[in-house]
Symmetry: C2
Subunit: 485 residues, 2 copies
């Protein structure tokens, strides 16, 4: 995979050396010779990865890294720190300011390219999600806050004990940090646990084991259930080639033996945080799509959903010739509530009525807010008689208890009128079914409200469509004029 | 990247050989020794790639490929056909039944792994999109038909002429197929054209050129604008290593010189089709998110959008202390239209009124369907006086011409009542602004309808919030009872 790499080093010969290596492998290279210019270039070009020297006069690598990670524009650009010394305390300090990995000078080519490829691949995957997130936030479907992650919340970790000879120590170290830790005894068990359990991280050890740790990683990456689960691999010292292969297979991060306590804690925390962040991005997508079919006030499905849902029900029931019934509910005198008590009172009433309707449905019934103060309930495989019974129940349920509205001392009596209609799944469509229920609703309103009226029309079918239309569509001159003015 | 590979071959030793090679590289391997069992295993496990022998007794590789590609479950699994002979007509026949690539026996390792990695990477990227697509279709936000692509529609192709010594021939061949073809003279020009133009495919030639073709490909993959644009590279014969590198950099497909006319046509068409399909998947995401903030009947933004949009306007205007005004419009006697003429008539009226409102707005004003027959228009940087003028204009515009409704002979006279309110961007929130406008609307309704009333309240601010609330929130005992029953 091609990528744009920013090389930061105060020694020109180091810059040239890295640049040359990267160009041969067809990377795009940008260079900076001090911290401040690195920050400017990074914000300007948003590279795919930064290779950052630690020891620089003025602003050192830790400071640069910390600033890159705290700037929202560059926070998601992976940073690899290039250090002269391989000191644990430097690595831990680097991890604390957000570094993603470390390379020791002189830089080994295998290690260099393995890390670049792995980090760039991970970044690209989340780039796409973030771009979509931005669209959703801009339109107000989700908020940026929905994606924020509690930075230090502990997670759930699976340790594969095979080859992990210091398993007990690793387990207790992580448990002390508040993580929920479980142990799989074999690779087989690990695969099955990782597939079913909700782990934020899987720890695997390479070397000194019966099965091949890379095989286990590969299997986890091949299965859709475990494909995105972060893996942290523990490798023996001096195993650059194995590590490169592990990263190529999609392992997210690694620890070199002997495992340093602080590094274990820090790298685990980073992976868990990322996992949470990406999960949140994915969930937000579902939220966005759900929002398109949901009424924001009541949380009920909306009219858009009703249409596609009806088609699914119809195609499922039509061969068996089963009935579909519909109730159209309208809150009585709702306009007056809004006019007298304001929209907020009206909104509260809509929410309560929506709750009451939903509390009384069977699992396969669907209630939607159709618009304004009107609701539709779809009852698959329900005869006209049982739909009528359901409507009578709902009518009583809504009026049974007056509704408390904030800021108003007296509870308000709320009632609904309901029209009921039914059709055989193969005959007619949603529009016709609702038209019949609507006519019944109109009758309920006309004859006193707070009641149920059942459509006297036969279940509509294509044969008598024309006849029905005349019931609603051809008004007298008088009614047309009265109606709208 | 790890992957699950299905190897299909009737000769056990060939299966074993390929399996061994793949296992060493940590791929998961499934095997089948004839066409029918390959189809069963593929549908069951959905591998990441199929390596398919062509010459098999019974059902041959072409037939297997054709069936895999016509089954929706396996249609997106890449198929590499493994052939004994490197005949152009076999390749073209393979491409016609949907094969993604070819390997000649004995299989060269570099070529094998380069193709697997490249095809699996492309598949994984579109897997994610498809999964999301499925969610959106299931909820009825988009339909599967939205993603269908006209299979043979010609596309737009950019040819980079450097090194393409047969450029004129390639160009005319593709033009004859109906594609719109343009030529970039240099790599630099190609980069700029590919970034700005709407090309479905870029054709690059390797060998015999000044600049490095792989560098050009790498640059295209590094730039966000060209990252997803398909690249078809033309390589000299016997350049397996260069080709492997090109695929690693993200080139989508290739042709080996001498370029065969039918293969050029077929591979170009395949890439264009895929590009269209993936573009459609991406567009559908935008559609889904847009749907969440759009009213499906009128196409106007909805209440959810209004809330986030108001916040953006407020934060933009608040430092300058500029005003924001709002109109709340309500169609007069709308309930009666629905009751007399049915919902469909009501819907048509809502659509026409929405159009009339939108036709009269400035570019930076926003109209939303707030719910039922109520609309809200937000006028940023607009004083109460100019908002009132806008409202008067809208009121006249809506009533100016009676509305034709299908199935009703006489056009219907439709009017709206409008309440107008204004606030200084820094003071108060959307809720308060709408409450004031609502109160004015109520006054307009009470005093005769088809008119504009402007809120007499001062622009709300946090200081007098409490006082305002009493206007709407504390009803007398009597009005509370009258209102809802």
């Amino acid at each position: 995979m091609s990528a744009r790499v920013l090389v930061v080093d105060d020694t020109p010969v180091n810059v040239k050396l890295l640049e040359a290596k990267l160009l041969v492998e067809y990377y795009e290279v940008l260079t900076a010779c001090d911290g401040p210019s690195a920050l400017v270039i990074a914000e300007d070009t948003i590279p795919d990865i930064v290779l950052l020297d630690v020891m620089m006069p003025g602003m050192d690598g830790f400071e640069v890294c910390s600033r890159l990670k705290s700037n929202p524009v560059t926070a998601h650009v992976p940073v690899v720190m290039v250090t002269a010394l391989n000191e644990v305390k430097d690595r831990v300090r680097g991890l604390e300011v957000g570094a993603d990995d470390f390379l020791t000078k002189p830089v080994n080519d295998v290690a260099l390219f393995a890390r670049i490829r792995s980090l760039v691949r991970l970044k690209r995957a989340s780039d796409e999600w973030r771009a979509r997130e931005a669209t959703a936030v801009e339109l107000g479907v989700t908020s940026a806050a929905d994606t924020e992650v509690d930075q230090d919340a502990p997670g759930s970790i699976l340790i594969v004990s095979e080859g992990m000879y210091d398993c007990a120590l690793v387990e207790s170290t992580l448990s002390e940090q508040g993580h929920r830790v479980e142990v799989a005894q074999t690779d087989e068990q690990a695969l099955s646990m990782a597939g079913y359990g909700k782990y934020d991280l899987v720890l695997v050890s390479d070397g000194n084991r019966e099965g091949d740790a890379l095989r286990l990683c590969s299997q986890m990456r091949s299965e859709p259930e475990t494909r995105h689960r972060p893996i942290l691999i523990v490798v023996p010292d001096n195993s650059d080639d194995r590590l490169a292969k592990a990263l190529e297979l999609g392992v997210n991060d690694y620890l070199v033996r002997p495992v340093e306590r602080d590094e274990l804690i820090s790298r685990s925390r980073t992976q868990i945080r990322r996992r949470r962040y990406e999960e949140r991005l994915r969930e937000n997508y579902t939220t966005s799509v759900n929002a398109a079919v949901t009424d924001s006030l009541t949380g009920m499905y909306n009219r858009r959903y009703l249409e596609s849902h009806f088609e699914r029900i119809r195609s499922r029931l039509k061969d068996a010739g089963k009935p579909i019934s519909a109730l159209v509910l309208d809150i009585d005198h709702f306009k007056k509530v809004n006019d007298t008590h304001g929209h907020e009172a009206g909104d509260e009433i809509l929410q309560v009525v929506a709750q009451r309707i939903q509390s009384d449905l069977r699992g396969f019934d669907t209630a939607v807010r159709f618009g304004g103060e009107e609701f539709v309930v779809l009852l698959p495989d329900s005869s006209l008689a049982s739909a009528e019974a359901a409507a009578e129940r709902l009518c009583l349920l809504v009026s049974a208890e007056p509704i408390a509205v904030s800021g108003i001392e007296t509870k308000l009596d709320v009632t609904v009128s309901i029209g009921v209609a039914s059709m055989v799944a193969g005959d007619g469509d949603l529009e016709e079914l609702l038209r019949c229920a609507d006519a019944a609703l109109y009758e309920a309103k006309r004859t006193g409200r707070n009641k149920v009226v059942t459509s006297s029309e036969k279940s509509p079918s294509s044969a008598d469509r024309a006849g029905q239309k005349s019931l609603y569509a051809v008004p007298t001159q008088q009614s047309a004029e009265n109606a709208v003015r």
